[in-house]
């Protein structure tokens, strides 16, 4: 769907897709709403989401249409929302697993993807290349093995942004 907005190129000073503050290697949560809420708190704290409740409603509306869990332990709660300021990824690793509705069981890698409602196409391209990396087993294994939030950030920047 085209947005009607002219494509914009992110300036070099544009906030990064992910920072160490947006990574939680010991994510806990009884269900997907709790896990999503916990990652969302980080987005709010970093100013990437202006209205937590509004964004959560958009994420839930998306989950209602079809669960976002993918086989291989992946959950991808996400939404395009007017309450998002910058395309952002928050990442959580949850050893206990959280059910995101995938057919093969709970997810241990959770990616909360927040996209601005009127984002230009360049913004969306960053998120599309992130999504493309997610299907690669090597990327998933590396995320499972990452020892620190900084290592996760470095990995995402290398794999997704090629830098």
């Amino acid at each position: 769907m085209t947005t009607g907005f002219p494509p914009t190129t992110p300036s070099p000073s544009a906030p990064a897709l992910i920072t160490a503050d947006l990574v939680d290697l010991d994510l806990t949560g009884a269900d997907r709403h709790e896990a999503t809420g916990s990652l969302l708190a980080r987005l709010v704290k970093q100013g990437r989401v202006t209205d937590a409740e509004g964004f959560l409603a958009d994420v839930r509306a998306r989950e209602e249409q079809m669960p976002t869990g993918i086989e291989g332990g992946i959950g991808i709660p996400h939404a395009r929302s007017e309450h998002v300021t910058e395309p952002t990824l928050a990442f959580g690793r949850c050893t206990a697993g959280v059910d995101f509705g995938a057919a093969d069981g709970p997810a241990d890698l959770i990616f909360l993807i927040a996209a601005p409602a009127g984002g230009g196409q360049e913004h969306m391209k960053v998120l599309s290349s992130l999504a493309r990396r997610l299907v690669h087993q090597s990327f998933r294994d590396a995320l499972r093995a990452a020892s620190s939030p900084d290592a996760v950030v470095e990995l995402v920047q290398k794999e997704v942004l090629g830098r």
Binding site: M1, M66, P67, G119, M124, S128, R132
Partner: protein, 490 residues
């Protein structure tokens, strides 16, 4: 072997691209070349006609309708959900290769028919079709409703009678049929009312047309729109529009499945399918649905007339429930005409009860979108923003987007709210000297405080019932979602 694929998903930022990557990798691993058109938020880079021509088979991994399907006509096609594209890309590619191998390149007419998408349960597909119709209808509701409301504010509620003809507060208006006279005789308010009313005439045709579009692609639009217009003509309201749209979609889907000799195939989409689908749907609307609706209307009218001596509060509740039942449809019309009939014969309390009950549905639903945002889709929340003004202006149609999207949870709420408002208004003995106008004719309302109490009480009941009903629906929706996932795992 060269293959092409289209991927798409509701949000267009994650699954579309994951499926694209997975399909490309699966084809590469199998030693083939696959090019994907990602119909997502980053903009679709369309497949070139050359790429499509060179491809042996097509894969659709999509949860929303693929745009431009006709580009792939005649190609062996494999269809799966976007999740299957991610979870079982190897399987989809294998099926595509098999489909391509089953077709000698010289005889594309032998192509197997596309496999029906099995990934979504019927209930969620039905909801998708209805939401397609609703989302195309909402701009007409918002633009038309707000223009009508503003025309009341600027020109007073009599503007409707001035433009359309009729009696308002004892003054007889002939109406203005020559639009070139509209500006000089009715001014800006008249113009705005006429434009708004015209937009409203399109509500049901657009709803029906785009439900059918969601089901059967562009071939569905003609029978859907014509069926919708006929639904209006036979007085069936938006419920008739839902029926017309679903009917048109089903008829068109069935006609598209008919196998014909190659020589005839060319004229099928140009002449045969439009002709047969429009005629079939039109015939059903006029012959099958028309007479019973007219019968129900005259039966209800007679019945109401026979209730002359009944308890006033009960009559208010009954009329209010009818106002909320089909939001501008046949039952609502009977109640409204009963109200204006009473007005002419000097009974002003009935008119007040009817109007307050007609204001309640949009207001109660707008309030529900505020207090429980998560229960409503983005489109419904947008409809909620416009519904405030429409409700205050006695434009009951502001509730239609909600009802069309989720009939069995919304209608009980609008009926309960309407009945409450009608009964309370009668109990307070509120009166009204105008046949419409909403809050803008507050000066013509007797006991305005009682009237407002009825309005608030009815709206709160609608909000409460719809929120409760949506919660009930959620629990039962979970197993259905699980069932819908089953084929993905297979």
């Amino acid at each position: 072997m060269k293959l092409v694929a289209v991927t798409s998903c509701p949000t267009g930022i994650a699954h579309t691209y994951m499926a694209a990557e997975a399909l490309e990798q699966a084809a590469k691993n199998a030693g083939h070349e696959l090019v994907v058109e990602t119909q997502g938020a980053a903009g679709a880079e369309a497949l070139s006609p050359e790429q499509i021509a060179a491809a042996g088979a097509v894969v659709f991994a999509a949860d929303v309708e693929v745009r431009g399907k006709e580009r792939f006509a005649g190609k062996p096609t494999v269809i799966g959900s976007v999740k299957r594209g991610i979870n079982d890309a190897d399987g989809l590619v294998r099926e595509a290769l098999e489909a391509a191998a089953g077709v000698a390149p010289a005889a594309p007419a032998q192509a197997p028919p596309p496999r029906a998408p099995q990934a979504l349960g019927f209930a969620s597909r039905l909801r998708q079709w209805l939401m397609t119709g609703v989302s195309y209808m909402i701009p007409f509701v918002a633009a038309g409703g707000i223009l009508i409301a503003l025309s009341f504010v600027i020109g007073g509620a009599e503007i409707a009678a001035v433009v359309n003809g009729g009696t308002y507060e004892g003054t007889e208006h002939a109406g203005i049929s020559d639009l070139s006279q509209l500006w000089s005789q009715a001014g800006l308010a008249g113009i705005m009312f006429k434009i708004g009313a015209t937009a409203f005439e399109m509500l049901v045709p657009i709803l029906a047309g785009f439900i059918a579009f969601g089901m059967a692609d562009r071939m569905g639009i003609a029978p859907g729109v014509v069926g919708g217009l006929l639904a209006v003509a036979i007085g069936a309201g938006f419920l008739g529009g839902l029926v017309a749209g679903l009917l048109a979609g089903a008829v068109t889907m069935a006609l598209k499945k008919i196998k014909v000799p190659r020589g005839v195939a060319g004229v099928m989409p140009v002449v045969v399918i439009p002709l047969l689908s429009v005629f079939t749907v039109g015939l059903l609307m006029i012959v099958v649905f028309g007479p019973p609706i007219a019968g129900v209307q005259s039966g209800l009218t007679e019945w109401l007339d026979g209730l002359a001596g009944v308890n006033a509060v009960l009559l208010g509740a009954l009329l209010g429930a009818m106002m909320g039942f089909d939001l501008g449809g046949p039952v609502n019309k009977v109640a409204y005409l009963f109200g204006t009939g009473a007005l002419v014969s000097g009974n002003l309390t009935v008119m007040a009860a009817v109007m307050v009950a007609g204001m309640v549905p949009p207001l109660g639903l707008a309030l529900a979108t505020l207090v429980r945002r998560a229960l409503f889709s983005q489109a419904e929340r947008q409809a909620g923003e416009a519904a405030w003004l429409l409700g205050l202006s006695f434009i009951t149609e502001g509730a239609i987007p909600f009802a069309a999207a989720d009939l069995f949870r919304v209608i009980p709420a609008t009926v309960a709210g309407g009945a409450t408002a009608g009964a309370v208004s009668m109990a307070f003995g509120a009166t009204l000297r105008a046949p419409h106008g909403g809050i803008w004719v507050i000066g013509l309302i007797g006991n305005p405080l009682g009237y407002l109490v009825a309005l608030v009480a009815g709206s709160l009941v609608t909000t409460g019932v719809v929120v409760a009903a949506k919660h009930v629906g959620r629990r039962t929706a979970t197993p259905e979602a699980a069932a819908a996932r089953q084929p993905v795992a297979a």
